[in-house]
C-alpha cells in the first residue's frame, strides 16, 4: 500500500524532489498603488527551480556566485527597462526605490523572492486617467500577476481594470475628483464638492465619449444606417441624391431615434431596472449592423430607418449600461453618472456624424457615391458576420483587429473622404455642365422617386 502511494505520488509529480516549490516558471507579481502625483509599485520575482540558473546567470554578471550590490542594481534597472508604463498614452519612466535579493542558493530551490520597489511621477492631467503597465521581462519563462490597491486617497476611484490573457498587459482607468492645480480650479472644485453627487460627472462624460469612440460596433451600425440616408429609394434600388433638405432631415431623424433608443435602455440598465444577459445583447448588436449594412446595399425598409435606428438603439443602450454596472455609488450619484456618461456618448456620436456628414452630402450627389456606399456596406456586413460568429460561438477571429485598425485611423479616413468627395463633386459638376452644353443626358440623373 505504501509502495503504491509512493509510486502514485511520484508519478503525479516531476522527478525533482523539490516539487513543493516553484519549478519551471518565473513568477513576477506587481501591485501598483495609484496616488495623486505618482504611482508606486512593489514587484516580487520568484524564479522556479528549473529557470533559476538562467535568472541567476542574468544577475550574476561576473559569475562568482555572489550577487553583489552593483549586480543587483543593474538587474533591477534591467527589469524596470523591460516594463512599459504609460499614463494617458504618455510613457512614464520608473525610478527604482529599493531592491532586495535572496541568496542564489535559495533561488535554486525555487523559493527565493526578489523584491523591487519602484515609483513614477505622473505629469499633470485630467480627472480621468488611464495607466498602462506592460511586463516584457523574460516572457518565455514567466507568469505574471498584476493588481492595484484600492487607493488610499479617497479622491481617487478606480473605474476599470483590463488585462490580457497572461497579465503581461494591465490597464487601469481611474477618475480623480481633485487634482486642481490653480486657484480657479480649486474654487470650481469646491463648488462641485457642494454638489458632491455630481462631482464625477465630467469624468463620466469623458468615459462616455471614450466608450463610444472605442465602441466600433455601435459606430458601425450608425454609419451603415447613414449611408443610404441622402438617397431616395426607387423600387428595390437606391437611386439618386434626394436633396440637401431631405438628406439632413433623414440623418437627423436616424441619429435622434438612435439616441433616444440607447438613452432609454442605458438609463434602465445602469439603474438596475432592466438586466439582460450580455451575450444575446452582443449578438443582437452584431445582427443590427448586418441589417443596416444590407439596407445600405438594397433598401429593406426605406423611410423607416428611424424606427430601425430607435429599435436597435434600445439594444445598443443595454451594452452601454454594462459599463456603469459596477459603480457602486449612491442613487443621486448614479443618476448623475448616467447623465454624464450619456452626454459623453451623444457628444462623441455627434462628432463622428459631423465628421462624415459633409462627405456624405457632397459625395452622394455624384455617381461615385455608389462605390463608397457599397464599400462601406460590405465592410460593415463582413464585420457584423464575423462578430455574429465570434459572439455566438465564442470563436475569436480577426474582425476586431481589422476594425480597430480602421477605427484608429478614423479621423484620417474622414478627412480623406472629404477630399475625395470634393474632388468627385467638382468632376461631376464639370461633367454636368459639359452635358448641359452638349445637351447630352446627364449622368446619374433619375426621375423623381418616392422616398
Amino acid at each position: 500500500m505504501k509502495t503504491k502511494l509512493v509510486i502514485l505520488v511520484a508519478a503525479l509529480s516531476f522527478a525533482l524532489p523539490v516539487f513543493a516549490h516553484r519549478l519551471d516558471e518565473y513568477l513576477q507579481a506587481i501591485i501598483v498603488s495609484v496616488e495623486q502625483g505618482q504611482i508606486r509599485a512593489s514587484m516580487r520575482l520568484i524564479p522556479g527551480v528549473a529557470v533559476s540558473a538562467a535568472v541567476i546567470g542574468a544577475i550574476d554578471i561576473n559569475g562568482d556566485g555572489v550577487l553583489s550590490e552593483a549586480e543587483q542594481q543593474i538587474y533591477a534597472q534591467k527589469v524596470l527597462r523591460d516594463l512599459s508604463l504609460s499614463i494617458d498614452g504618455q510613457p512614464l519612466k520608473p525610478r527604482l526605490s529599493s531592491v532586495s535579493f535572496p541568496a542564489p542558493a535559495d533561488m535554486k530551490e525555487g523559493t527565493g523572492e526578489i523584491h523591487i520597489d519602484f515609483a513614477a511621477d505622473l505629469p499633470a492631467g485630467g480627472s480621468h486617467r488611464t495607466l498602462i503597465i506592460e511586463n516584457h521581462h523574460e516572457p518565455r519563462m514567466s507568469v505574471y500577476l498584476m493588481n492595484c490597491l484600492v487607493p488610499q486617497d479617497r479622491d481617487i476611484q478606480i473605474v476599470a481594470q483590463n488585462r490580457n490573457q497572461n497579465q503581461s498587459y494591465y490597464r487601469v482607468e481611474y477618475v480623480r475628483s481633485g487634482g486642481g492645480q490653480d486657484a480657479w480650479t480649486s474654487r470650481w472644485r469646491s463648488t462641485l464638492t457642494a454638489l458632491a453627487p455630481f462631482a464625477g460627472v465630467p469624468s463620466m462624460f469623458r468615459l462616455g465619449m471614450r466608450h463610444i469612440a472605442e465602441g466600433t460596433d455601435h459606430l458601425l451600425f450608425l454609419i451603415a444606417l447613414l449611408l443610404p440616408a441622402p438617397l431616395l429609394a426607387v423600387r428595390s434600388h437606391w437611386a439618386a441624391f434626394g436633396g440637401l433638405r431631405h438628406s439632413l432631415i433623414q440623418i437627423l431623424r436616424v441619429v435622434t431615434a438612435f439616441t433616444l433608443g440607447h438613452s432609454i435602455t442605458l438609463a434602465l440598465g445602469a439603474s438596475g431596472l432592466v438586466s439582460l444577459p450580455e451575450r444575446p445583447v452582443e449578438v443582437l448588436i452584431a445582427f443590427s449592423i448586418l441589417i443596416s449594412a444590407a439596407h445600405a446595399l438594397r433598401p429593406l425598409f426605406p423611410g423607416r430607418e428611424p424606427i430601425i435606428a430607435g429599435g436597435f438603439g434600445l439594444v445598443h443602450g443595454l451594452a452601454f449600461a454594462t459599463t456603469l454596472q459596477n459603480l457602486g455609488v449612491g442613487v443621486w450619484q448614479r443618476i448623475a453618472s448616467i447623465l454624464g456618461f450619456n452626454l459623453g456618448i451623444e457628444t462623441m456620436q455627434l462628432i463622428v456624424v459631423a465628421a462624415i456628414l459633409p462627405s456624405l452630402i457632397i459625395l452622394s450627389r455624384t455617381p461615385a457615391y455608389t462605390v463608397f456606399r457599397f464599400t462601406g456596406a460590405l465592410f460593415a456586413g463582413f464585420a457584423s458576420l464575423g462578430w455574429i460568429i465570434e459572439r455566438l460561438f465564442d470563436v475569436p477571429d480577426l474582425v476586431d483587429v481589422v476594425v480597430d485598425r480602421v477605427a484608429v485611423r478614423g479621423a484620417w479616413i474622414a478627412a480623406f473622404l472629404l477630399v475625395i468627395s470634393i474632388v468627385a463633386w467638382f468632376r461631376h459638376d464639370r461633367q454636368n455642365r459639359r452635358n448641359i452644353i452638349t445637351e447630352k443626358p446627364a449622368l446619374a440623373e433619375s426621375e423623381p422617386a418616392v422616398a
Partner: protein, 406 residues
C-alpha cells in the same frame, strides 16, 4: 371563572418563561466560555512541558500596527528584523536579540542565522511568523510536534480540538496527513506531522489578549483571543498532495473548498458567470504572507447580483475558512461577513469543471469589505489539482488588531 383564567394564564406564562430560559435553541455556545476553555487546555498543555520546553514555546505578545514581510534563510533563524520593522534593502541582518528561542532546523547544515537576508518570505508579527513554507525554510517560533512526548503531543492536539471546530480540526489533520504523505517520498526539507509547530504568545487569559499559532508546511493558523473575541485571520491552508491514502482510506484535502466553489459557479446563470469569470490567468496568491494591510481593487461578480440561493452557497464556501475556528468565535465573524455580503465579490479564473474525486485547477477569490479568501492551485511544474495554496484574511482585523485596545 376568572380565577380559572388567571391560573391558566399564569401557568402559561410560567411555561413560556421556563422554556425561554432553558431552551437555548441550538445551544449557542458563549464566546467567553470558549476562551476560558482554550485557556484551560493551553494551561494543561504548558503544564505538561518541562521548564526548558516552556521557554521555547511561549513568547511575549507584542501587538503591532501591521505585520511585515521578513526574509528567512533556510539554514538558521530568521534573518530579518526581529521587531517587525519593514524589510529593507539587501544586506546582512543578523538575528536580533529576543530571537534565541529554539528554532534549530531538523536538517541541513547548521547555521548561525547571520549573513544576507534569506530567500524565503514570511510575514512577521511581533515574534509570530506566518508562512506557508516548510519549517526548515521559514522557522516558526515554538515547539515542533516531533520534539514532544506522546502525552505532550496529545495535550497539544487536544488544545487544537478545543480551539477549532470539529471540521476545522479534521481539516488540520487532513493537511498534516497530506504533508506526511509528501514526506514519505523524501524531501530535503522538514516535512510530515512531526514538523508542525505550536507557539503561544502572551499569557493565556480569558480577558487579556494573547495569541496561538499552529502551522508548518501548507498550514498557518493564527488564533488571537481577546476576552470573548477570537480571530483566526490571517490563516492559510494548503495541501500537496491533495489526494492521498491514509489508513486505507482516500483523503482529499480541501475537498469542500473546491467542490462548494464549483457548485456555486455552476449555480450562476450565463450572465453572472460572464461577470464572475475573469478573462486572464492567475497563477498564485496575490495577498499571501508579506501583504498585510493591502486591499486590491475587487473584481468579479458581486453578491448583490446573486439570488438568495447563490448567496447562501457563497456563504457556505466562506464558512470553510471562517468555520475552521470553533463555533463561538465563528458565529459573530459570519454575521459580520453577512452584513457586508452585498459588497462581496466572487471571481474565478480557469477551467469551470473538475474531475470527480479530484480538486480543480482553477483559481478563485472571494473579496468583501472585511474579507479576502484566495484559492490558488499551484501549477508550478506539477499537477495543479494536487497542489493548492489558500489564504484567508480580514484586512481590517488581521491578528485581531481591532479587539486589542492599547
Amino acid at each position: 371563572m376568572s380565577k380559572f383564567v388567571l391560573l391558566a394564564s399564569a401557568s402559561a406564562l410560567l411555561c413560556v418563561t421556563a422554556f425561554g430560559f432553558f431552551d437555548q435553541g441550538k445551544d449557542t455556545p458563549k464566546a467567553a466560555n470558549q476562551t476560558q476553555a482554550i485557556v484551560t487546555a493551553t494551561t494543561a498543555f504548558l503544564n505538561s512541558l518541562s521548564a526548558d520546553q516552556r521557554q521555547k514555546v511561549q513568547f511575549p505578545f507584542t501587538p503591532q500596527k501591521t505585520a511585515t514581510a521578513a526574509r528567512f534563510a533556510r539554514t538558521g533563524g530568521p534573518g530579518g528584523p526581529g521587531r517587525g520593522g519593514p524589510m529593507q534593502g539587501p544586506g546582512a541582518r543578523p538575528g536580533t536579540p529576543g530571537q534565541q528561542n529554539g528554532q534549530h532546523p531538523g536538517r541541513g547544515p547548521g547555521g548561525s542565522g547571520m549573513g544576507p537576508g534569506g530567500g524565503f518570505i514570511g510575514e512577521q508579527y511581533g515574534q509570530a511568523v506566518w508562512s506557508n513554507f516548510p519549517v526548515s525554510d521559514v522557522p516558526r517560533p515554538g515547539l515542533r510536534m516531533g520534539s514532544l512526548s506522546a502525552a505532550q503531543r496529545d495535550a497539544a492536539m487536544h488544545l487544537l480540538q478545543v480551539a477549532l471546530s470539529a471540521e476545522g480540526y479534521q481539516k488540520v489533520l487532513d493537511i498534516m496527513g497530506s504533508d506526511q504523505a509528501l514526506s514519505e517520498t523524501g524531501t530535503p526539507y522538514c516535512s510530515g506531522t512531526a514538523c508542525y509547530t505550536i507557539g503561544i504568545f502572551g499569557e493565556p487569559s480569558s480577558t487579556k489578549p494573547w495569541m496561538l499559532e499552529f502551522g508548518g508546511h501548507h498550514l498557518g493558523l493564527n488564533l488571537t483571543m481577546a476576552g470573548e473575541h477570537g480571530v483566526i485571520t490571517p490563516t492559510l491552508t494548503g495541501a500537496q498532495p491533495a489526494v492521498y491514502t491514509s489508513n486505507g482510506k482516500t483523503v482529499r484535502a480541501l475537498a469542500r473548498e473546491n467542490d462548494k466553489a464549483f457548485a456555486l459557479l455552476d449555480a450562476l446563470d450565463a450572465n453572472q458567470r460572464r461577470r464572475a469569470i475573469l478573462n486572464y490567468e492567475i497563477h498564485d496568491l496575490v495577498l499571501g504572507p508579506g501583504h498585510a494591510g493591502e486591499t486590491i481593487q475587487p473584481e468579479g461578480l458581486k453578491a448583490f447580483d446573486m439570488n438568495e440561493q447563490q448567496r447562501a452557497m457563497l456563504l457556505d464556501v466562506i464558512s470553510e475558512w471562517t468555520g475552521i475556528v470553533n463555533e463561538a468565535y465563528a458565529i459573530p465573524r459570519m454575521a459580520e461577513i453577512k452584513a457586508g455580503l452585498n459588497e462581496t465579490y466572487f471571481a474565478w479564473s480557469g477551467p469551470t469543471s473538475h474531475e470527480p474525486g479530484r480538486n480543480g485547477s482553477a483559481y478563485y477569490r472571494i473579496q468583501g469589505p472585511k474579507l479576502v479568501i484566495e484559492f490558488s492551485p499551484q501549477g508550478v511544474g506539477g499537477d495543479p489539482t494536487m497542489h493548492v495554496h489558500t489564504m484567508y484574511r480580514d484586512p481590517t482585523n488581521d491578528y485581531g488588531r481591532r479587539f486589542i485596545t492599547d
